[in-house]
């Protein structure tokens, strides 16, 4: 049996909810486990590098990740996400309000 057969694809939307906002040209996405037992899965699989790959072409800077185990949440800072941010930005989502659900489009490859 191939290794890929022992994995299943799970949309992040089924494991977490999220809210996002802005600080200058940086969008922040708070990612919150829907159940406490999902939090370790988020910590292991939703890494800064994975999120940076997910948003490739949408952000120009690096991704930082912070852990809030007390709230079963991760906080991501997406630098260079808002076309300059605030009043400078020409984007519909100049304040990064819906980067939250954009992150929830991520598909995780989890063991069956």
């Amino acid at each position: 049996m191939k290794k890929a057969d022992r994995k299943r694809s799970v949309p992040l939307l089924e494991l977490a909810h999220a809210r996002s906002g802005d600080k200058g040209d940086t969008a922040n996405v708070g990612l919150i486990a829907l159940k406490p037992e999902y939090y370790p899965i988020l910590v292991k699989h939703v890494t800064a590098a994975r999120v940076a790959r997910h948003f490739k072409g949408m952000i120009s800077g690096p991704v930082e990740r912070y852990e809030l185990p007390n709230l079963h949440a991760l906080n991501f800072l997406l630098h260079g996400a808002l076309d300059g941010g605030g009043t400078i930005s020409l984007k519909t989502d100049a304040q990064g309000k819906v980067f939250s659900t954009a992150l929830l489009r991520l598909e995780l490859e989890l063991p069956k």
Partner: protein, 460 residues
């Protein structure tokens, strides 16, 4: 000194300038509260207000605050509810004067004291500060303020809770401030009610977390909440949040009975992570709060208990919010209908860009979005949506330039596409877009000693 109360109830009435006008009225009439807290100032609001003040020196504050006060002052005076609000913008004294006039008209003379907090406005002091070596470098880009000094339109230090506490101690019923932090407006009543000390870092951090939780109004009571959003009840009558704080720094988030919305751990958590940087150090003028220490538990229906918050000493800096003129921008839109809506919108974009290039117009940025296809989720959406069958797509093009004439010419290149571009196009009823001046945000730090808050309390 009046006896220290067991708990104090602080109600959020406005999460930003432009928030629901009914919310403050409902907060003071829907059940018992001790304080009404209202946050009016977003990052660029100060520069908008500065512009208004430069045209009319009596303006420069949140004008909506005055008719609101007219509506609720008789109620809050009777119920002894105190108000903290940063509605003063760049003219807190003018704002306080307008509130006093309203109070006198309502025959509240002798029954109301108004506190005014100023000292945050640094615009007139900028050259002196720069000359003395305070560089006010941009926190994001590290650029020196001197590089854009001639384009600065506003500069305000973020003040914390303590000047507001001072006003409350001197008997103010309504405290009108300039650029006081959102969180300080909630923390101040707690410090005042419980006699918290300036170095009680855990308590100050707890009050700061309470402030962060309710500073966006209904965003912690069911508004903009992703979890279970379809089943959050009666958002038409959403109850704005109330902090019920105890002297030991624990508090509960709740709302008035009979209101809509929901107070849940999931919803409060969404608000806690909103606009969050490093959760281990949420820095305010009053303390550093550690958001990784917050404990939440559902404590009954529409009631979340918050405890465990730890804090650290405040830094010796204040954040300064500076607005400076950046350039011009404009955004134009057209709507293309099925069939091939997306392809038509793409073709129109290519034609428009070629015309802009042929005219030799120079822009710092030209951004195209296809609303209905990829405007919010970009390539992530394009990868999953059936783009060839969309019923309609809005072409949305924005340009930005230091050259006003270039932006102005762009605004005249949209309408012609209706008759000389791809077919099935509509949605131009709004007319030609208007070039807009961009006042950009410049965050910086300044030594605390350079800023002297000023507190005045006057009888009406």
């Amino acid at each position: 000194m009046k006896p220290r109360s067991a708990t104090v109830r602080i109600a959020a009435g406005q999460g930003f300038w432009g928030d629901w006008l009914e919310a403050p009225y409902r907060q003071v009439t829907g059940g018992p509260v001790d304080y009404l807290m209202m946050d009016y100032l977003a990052e660029v609001t100060m520069s908008i207000l500065q512009k208004q003040k430069s045209r009319d020196p009596s303006l420069g504050y949140a004008k909506d605050f005055i008719p609101l006060m007219e509506r609720i002052l008789p109620i809050v005076a009777e119920r002894r509810i105190k108000i903290t609000a940063n509605a003063g913008g760049v003219n807190p004294r003018g704002c306080a004067q307008a509130v006093a006039e309203v109070a006198r008209r309502l025959r509240l003379s002798g029954k109301l004291r108004i506190g005014v907090v100023t000292g945050d406005d640094l615009l007139g002091r900028l050259d002196g500060l720069l000359a003395r070596g305070h560089e006010l470098r941009n926190l994001d880009t590290n650029q020196r303020l001197a590089d854009v000094r001639d384009r600065v339109v506003s500069a305000n230090a973020y003040l914390g809770a303590w000047p507001v506490v001072d006003a409350l101690r001197r008997g103010a019923d309504v405290v009108v401030t300039g650029r006081v932090t959102d969180t300080g407006l909630t923390l101040a009543p707690m410090i005042h009610a419980f006699g918290w000390r300036p170095d009680a870092w855990d308590l100050l951090a707890a009050g700061t977390v309470a402030g962060h939780t309710i500073e966006c109004g209904a965003q912690c009571s069911g508004g903009n909440c992703l979890v279970d959003w379809e089943r959050i009840p009666d958002l038409a009558n959403v109850g704005y949040p109330i902090v019920e704080a105890a002297p030991d720094g624990t508090f509960e988030i709740t709302k008035h009975p009979g209101t809509g919305g929901r107070i849940s751990v999931a919803g409060v958590t969404e608000q806690l992570v909103y606009e969050m940087g490093n959760p281990g150090e949420y820095i305010t003028p009053d303390c550093i709060a550690d958001f990784t220490t917050i404990r939440l538990e559902q404590h009954g229906k529409d009631r979340v208990r918050v405890s465990g918050v730890r804090g650290r000493p405040a830094t010796d800096k204040l954040k300064v919010s500076i607005g400076y003129f950046y350039g011009y921008k404009a955004v134009g839109t057209l709507v293309y209908a099925w069939p091939d809506a997306y392809q038509k919108a793409q073709a129109a974009d290519r034609i428009l860009r070629q015309r802009l290039a042929d005219l030799g117009l120079k822009f710092e940025s030209v951004l195209t979005e296809f609303v209905g296809a990829d405007a919010t989720h970009g390539p992530l959406a394009r990868a999953s949506a059936p783009l060839d069958q969309l019923p309609e797509v809005q072409l949305r093009i924005g340009v930005r330039s230091p050259d006003r004439a270039a932006v102005d010419r762009f605004t005249r290149e949209i309408a012609p596409l209706i008759l000389n571009g791809p077919p099935s196009v509509t949605g131009f009823a709004g007319g030609r877009p208007k070039p807009e001046e961009i006042v950009a945000y410049w965050p910086a730090l300044l030594d605390k000693g350079m800023v002297e808050p000023c507190v005045e309390v006057v009888d009406v």
